[in-house]
Symmetry: D2
Subunit: 342 residues, 4 copies
């Protein structure tokens, strides 16, 4: 009955099993284990090219490390004003970059507006009195649950690369975007110009492992030094890599995401039928913003449903589903909403 | 047959079981889970006072976060020249502290010499032309396998506190020190003046979880902001806390450490009988430095034993045992050494 | 004929004379010279209380050092979106603070809107997922030439202090504000809650010296370490302090500012009479924003007048006067504008 | 009668005159003034190649900015353990580099020992667990008054460049070294591999201006951003550049240094004749370390001579001369020493 975040879910049995299997006998530390190799191979298949991978303990670390590798300290990170890197990481990007500036841009559904980006990538470029536009960070799926289409990403990528900037993707919910669009991971990343991807896994199934996928492999040495220095290079890497290995096996990552998306769609469909409910913005993946009548909010809270409701305008509620959300939970919420709406 | 490091061991079944049990159903994120509470209670019992705890993914993160909370950027960290923070963290303390200076001190067995410390804590104090002595960091057990006695810690603590500095302990192998001395955790930490402890767990049993134990709880808010900003605040904290919870249950942490120590002692005893072997320094815990005849080194490597041998003087070898090291492995190494020594 | 900035003016003879007098014989370094003492006394008189003073080489250094002393790295600096610290210092505040976040607020005439501030000072306070509101920075006079009244400052100061934040003032053109308002320096600073003031002198007369005035003197030790570490503690301090000493003698600083203001007022009055000219915003001090017909802009540039004209909307021009601007220069520009407007 | 430092001297009349001449009429800011151009031309002549130049307010800023441009944050700066960057800048290099590590090396007369350097430049290169050797910093003349010969610099330069590191020179007393050796500035810098030079001027004549000379001009854009961001880009640059311009005119810089060196030599010669005086180390430039009998130290202090005497071993005194030191002052000290030695 928790719809507050997809980070409250546990982990699928496949991942727990893999961890259990990995927990026998010795293994070489610092990424020299067999699961780390396997993950590299699986990601190369998935993205249709050689990639490097670094395991990290949080999405915040993935983003901050990645951005620090893509901008000098006197650079700026162009991102959406509602992005996680801008709002929800306590300045981790500023810490890791040694003080780069996050420049917030607008755009519907937490997607960066291409026209704003066109101006921003060239703003005071080369002027020492101002920070230097250096990297664009897009979130896929966005913080409001929308998904950039391949064409949208290509456009942003072209603007970014034409101006000589780097492109970073916060893919905390990348799986949800892939599942939503049916596009290839390659089309959604490096083919659109993405240099580094925060390949989110925790929200979609793993326990203590996220990853950075490096498309421009010339960045890997710097990223590796930064990761060690940040305290992100684990000794017993196998216990992270085994999780991600299982996550990537037999399509588990996509299956989980598709399920979470389907649960959000079911929620959305059901809420449309509830009197007084207003859908807010796109809900392409597993996040849904809706405006609910206050009695519905109060009633659902009293019923024990958990969700965020007091952070945006009056009546605005965020509902998040996960791989672990059941149809029963969705239907219970819908039933409650219908009951309290009367 | 791996004696290169205690970070190559897997994890005890108790910890794997705990993780499995924790992996069912939803849980609140960011430390609001029941295992986090349990760990706090267990640590309070263990240390005979209220403490705060933060979970981190590596010992390097634990050290760097702790030190950053104990020194201003213009401060200095007084540490042994052979310490992990000085040599093996790629400058993580410098990164986290925004550029504090590590001042290396001498002393036998990688223990800080009290006389050197006495001078260093007052060196150019208050002189803006020089970094300000701010925190002393001791490693317990040390990087060469020695253990500070309670009296030694008290002396260093008194020097530190009399001069108005903070005391930090890198306890990557704290369990080994407690097992070795039979002293209470309290006597080895806050009673000697320790403000913050990197409570190492990974080398001694956990998979992906270490912890910072905060004795001066006024430091906790700053430490919490720093941890989030460093990408060290995990969403699914239960999967770290459950590991540490099991680690602290029924004395598993001490039992593991005592076993590792016993295996090192068995190694040491056995090597004494091998012709041409020279024991180097104290081996109070689970690390042993010895000088071996070159044929013994070559022979053991050819036998498949894994250990570091080319980082120090000629013939100097480091052997590390763990909770998972078996008597059979130790005896096999001893047999091999005896054979190659002839 | 330069109206682009007040930083193109030379220096008054009084300051050059003082420097010449200071340049004889030896003097103790690092602020132990007699002029440094004299400046402290003069500032104490001026501000009606004991203050500390640090000399710096630029206004950017003054602001960045001051802000770094007033916010932790995980804090936020609330400032106007058009402020110098936000736009024109290449991220110096982010560098000096080790990555604090500048949060841009709105408000007319580049003054912070009190209602926006009221929300911002409490935004996600104490939430580790977000930067912590820590310091408010106001620019007096503002970047568009407006001046906060004493009442306006008191209001912002009360909002700031009620929420437990620090108050910083970028006084790059503080003299102009004092001259414009006729209020006491005390009323405009610490009586309104200001903790630290960047006391701008370069734009108003000195050559290579600016100063930080410290009202909360408990901040001075930290500020002194930060200044040294930033390379801002000069050896031959007398050559900075002598400049500021002369600047503060016999009201030179205020006389200079009053003259610059008068020249801006003369410009404004004259431009009102030019057909097609639109005055934009308040011009309380020595900066004037106007919209000019394009032929007037082109004509003045062709005449050799220097000013910024392509940074804002079409036709928008910034004109800045200084202590060195003459009535003849102003009248020449007015005559030219009148001629080209026909 | 001040022998404590060369930073207590005033400025020669030529520099004051130049400043006076520069102080008339407007000038373009931020280095677009004619004196900045002139300095670039004079330095190009002096160093026999095109160079870039940035003006800074202190030698500490020059060093810290230069080093930050030559090492990544995870790099190490190899320097002598007695160097100014290591001891006397309150961690400015650590601040500017975002936490690089200064690795102290030994060697007589505060010169880096080539054998130690040979080991250090390759120490754990490419190992992410350790900071990466990145730049070597030599001080010319050294902090104890010795001067590297051209051959010595070539050797250090070759070791540095063969290992792929950068070479930085702290030339706070570069003029003294040139005057002492009679070698060309080119031979002492870029021909030996120096990438960036802190071209010290303040100790040898200027009032508020030092400079960074860039031999590898590809570094200039980064250095320029860093300088602005550090608050080191002055608006009224002409008041710095005019000082350096005069300093470089008609050999003033070398004449001043030769005079300071001659005064030190005179001191050294005279002290040899004083009973109980022991000369310590080379005194190639304007710094002299000697061991004096305690009555001599006490007597000279009582006579009003100022010098450092309690920072090193018992009886060790540092005597520094400058361009402003007179033969009469030197002879007075010698007479006093002779008198007190009886």
């Amino acid at each position: 009955m928790i719809f507050s975040s997809d980070n409250t879910a546990a982990t699928p049995p496949e991942i727990l099993d893999a961890l259990t299997r990995a927990a026998s006998g010795p293994a070489l530390p610092y990424g020299a284990d067999e699961h780390s190799d396997s993950v590299r191979r699986r990601l190369a298949d998935l993205f249709e090219r050689d990639v490097d991978v670094l395991f990290v303990s949080t999405g915040t670390a993935a983003n901050a490390l990645g951005l620090a590798t893509l901008t000098p300290p006197w650079g700026s990170v162009l991102c959406h004003r509602d992005s996680h890197v801008n709002n929800d990481e306590c300045g981790a990007p500023e810490f890791y970059t040694a003080g780069a500036k996050l420049v917030p841009l607008g755009g519907a559904d937490a997607k960066i507006d291409p026209d704003e980006l066109r101006t921003a990538v060239r703003y005071k470029k080369g002027d020492v009195h101002s920070v230097e536009p250096s990297v664009v960070s897009v979130t896929q799926a966005t913080e409001t649950g929308a998904v950039y289409t391949v064409d949208e990403l290509r456009e942003l990528g072209a603007i970014t690369k034409d101006a000589g900037l780097r492109l970073h993707m916060d893919g905390a919910r990348f799986a949800g975007a892939v599942a939503s669009l049916g596009a290839t991971p390659a089309a959604l990343t490096w083919r659109a110009g993405v240099d580094l991807l925060s390949f989110g896994a925790t929200k979609n199934g793993t326990m203590t492992a996220d990853a950075i996928v490096v498309f421009d492999r010339a960045l890997t040495p710097e990223l590796s030094f930064r990761a060690k220095r940040a305290g992100q290079l684990t000794a017993k890497t196998r216990f992270q890599s085994a999780q991600v290995d299982a996550y990537l096996t037999d399509g588990l990552w996509l299956r989980n995401a598709a399920h979470a998306n389907a649960m959000a769609a079911r929620l959305q469909d059901g809420l449309k039928a509830v009197p007084g409910v207003e859908l807010l913005g796109a809900a392409d993946a597993n996040i849904l913003f809706v405006r609910l009548p206050q009695p519905v909010i109060d009633g659902l809270l009293a019923d024990g449903f958990v969700f965020y409701h007091d952070r945006w305008g009056p009546g605005v509620v965020r509902l998040v589903t996960s791989f672990a959300t059941t149809e029963e939970e969705v239907d219970a919420l819908l039933a409650g909403a219908g009951r309290h709406a009367v």
